[in-house]
């Protein structure tokens, strides 16, 4: 140990200080605040009336039908968008990987929606799915299918949001699957062919087996990200019709920011945040160190 190393000891603090300050302000304190507020009746317009009310917010939350509707909605979203998006991504990656003319065009075509932000996606699809003047219904009418109330029907609205979310995100996962496919050495397929394996067998035992880490990573990150759904329902349906597209994160936003019920919104943040944290920890366990092993 020399002198300079000793001197470097305390300088380390200087280097981490800016990041530490910002993280404390905008991540750590808000997380602590949400626990503290959740035990109060904090109403943003009457901050001086804030007082400790124990677990009352949590008790009310358990009895809140809108909260349970939002939980049911997000469950439906997660369960349907996961297989749809990940399955399509794998299928597209397998198709695009093969050598065929125009291959680059197809790759770009499937990736293109990724470039569109969720704010743009929401407005664009609002026009595409419009019941009277939307292009999708105009085309459906042309082939003899009657106009559908995509976003105005409580039975269809969530399915519409699932569809356009998958459309927007699938190209990115296709790219990840493609990277995974590139890592499978060709010799494996040749060896399998010599051993007399048919196409299905080599797909199952080589492609799928070798893609397992990639698939696991994609499945778990999609799963957790899907729980954070907010922009599409916020921009397209405002959670309606009849709360059929309200999600927990959107309900937190509405309760805390629009209705200014900060105490109640905080209780929701704590409960829902904890649920996501538990899923994240399970994900880390399943995939090893978490996403970072891919960097």
């Amino acid at each position: 140990m020399n002198n300079s190393l000793a001197k470097r000891n305390n300088q380390g603090w200087l280097f981490i200080f800016p990041a530490l300050l910002l993280l404390t302000l905008f991540l750590f304190i808000p997380a602590i605040l949400s626990i503290y507020y959740s035990l109060t009746n904090y109403y943003m317009l009457a901050p001086q009336a804030r007082k400790f009310i124990g677990l009352l917010n949590y008790v009310n939350l358990l009895k809140d039908p809108i909260f349970w509707t939002s939980v049911k909605n997000i469950g439906q979203f997660v369960l349907l968008v996961m297989p749809l998006q990940v399955g399509t991504a794998l299928g597209l990656a397998l198709i695009v990987r093969k050598k065929r003319p125009w291959n680059t065009f197809f790759k770009v075509a499937f990736f293109a929606p990724v470039v569109v932000s969720l704010a743009v996606t929401s407005v664009l699809w609002l026009y595409i799915l419009n019941p009277e003047q939307g292009i999708l219904n105009s085309m459906l009418l042309k082939i003899g299918i009657k106009a559908q109330p995509f976003l105005t029907s409580p039975r269809q609205a969530m399915f519409a949001i699932i569809g356009l979310s998958a459309w927007q995100g699938v190209g990115y996962q296709m790219l990840i699957f493609l990277a995974g496919l590139q890592n499978i050495p060709n010799e494996l397929y040749e060896a399998a062919r010599i051993d007399g394996a048919n196409k299905w067998e080599s797909f199952r035992h080589i492609t799928l087996a070798m893609l397992k880490p990639t698939s696991l990573m994609i499945l778990t990150t999609t799963f957790i990200d899907a729980f954070k759904l907010i922009i599409q329902p916020m921009g397209m349906t405002q959670g309606g019709p009849l709360n059929s597209t309200i999600t927990p994160v959107y309900y937190i936003y509405r309760t805390g920011f629009t209705d200014r019920q900060l105490g109640y919104a905080s209780a929701m943040s704590v409960i829902y945040g904890l649920a996501i944290i538990i899923f994240t920890i399970i994900q880390r366990r399943i995939t090893g160190a978490g996403g970072s092993q891919n960097v």
Partner: protein, 284 residues
């Protein structure tokens, strides 16, 4: 071989299928761009024919929606705002996170292990659920409705710090020690030697933070009230809600806010895939 005709037919069928699929993926975007290049009435007239996906046949009309959009709204301000926020967040997050990554990698100080552990633990906090409380902090700091409210909370990120730390860990300590022998100060070593070596990490963090900032919608919507400070993503909603609403103008603003991202994706695709581990899937 009797196999060949069968194989040929299969190739044709699969090519037709994949072309249809590609059309399914592209039609919203083609429709968006085509609709921005024609008069409002023509959009409605073309809705159920192939012409919906073609711009106006009269090239002189192509710029009309854009011209009218620019005269009704301060689009240029929105673009400049988005660029300003995006570039500030990019530069700031490269600086703040690389400093911290370097601090954790090349220094030994008391409490280091604990703080780093805390940082890794913070990775699991879902930021989406604490935006209301974050808003309270920004309000208490008195920076609501200023660019700082948009920029500051987006700078430090445990994942980026972790990436930089890993990168610096891979660089031998000898580099630092020999520079110290020459009498260089710690910050000089970081700025002149280490940071220039970290270009791949810088590119990845920079690409991800620029895209993240450019696409951010809910946070700037919450902290900005003055529309002259809006970034494009927030302005879109404004434009789409200001009557009279012209569909071709809406499609024009959607196209305008998508174009810069196409450029970023084209040039920085490689770094995106490198950082894909955490940034995930696009549902938010």
């Amino acid at each position: 071989m009797s196999d060949h005709p069968k194989k040929f037919a299969l190739t044709i069928i699969s090519t037709i299928l994949i072309t249809l699929l590609a059309f399914l993926f592209l039609f919203p975007l083609v429709w968006m761009i085509a609709s921005s290049l024609k008069p409002e009435a023509e959009i409605y007239k073309n809705m159920d024919s192939f012409r919906a996906f073609l711009p106006s046949f009269n090239i002189d009309q192509w710029g009309d929606a854009y011209k009218n959009l620019l005269s009704r709204f301060t689009v240029l301000t929105y673009i400049l705002n988005s660029l300003f926020y995006g570039l500030s967040v990019t530069a700031g997050s490269i600086l703040v996170n690389s400093l911290a990554g370097y601090g954790f990698s090349k220094f030994k100080f008391k409490g280091q292990k604990f703080i780093f552990g805390l940082l890794i633990a913070m990775l699991v906090i879902p930021g989406e659920t604490i935006i209301i409380q974050k808003f309270q902090i920004v309000k208490a700091l008195g920076i609501l409705n200023t660019p700082w409210a948009v920029i500051f909370p987006s700078l430090a990120a445990p994942f980026y710090i972790y990436m930089f730390k890993n990168f610096f860990d891979a660089i031998s300590n000898d580099v630092v020690e020999s520079a110290e022998m020459e009498g260089a100060g710690s910050f000089m070593i970081y700025w002149k030697i280490m940071l220039p070596m970290a270009k791949p990490a810088i590119a990845t963090v920079g690409t991800l933070s620029f895209i993240g900032s450019w696409n951010d919608y809910i946070w700037p919507l919450m902290v900005l009230t003055d529309s002259s400070k809006f970034p494009l993503q927030v302005a879109i909603t404004n434009i789409n809600n200001t009557v009279p609403v012209y569909m071709n103008q809406v499609m024009a603003i959607l196209t305008i806010s998508t174009l810069p991202l196409i450029i970023v994706y084209l040039f920085f695709q490689k770094y995106l895939v490198q950082g894909l581990g955490v940034s995930g899937t696009g549902e938010k």
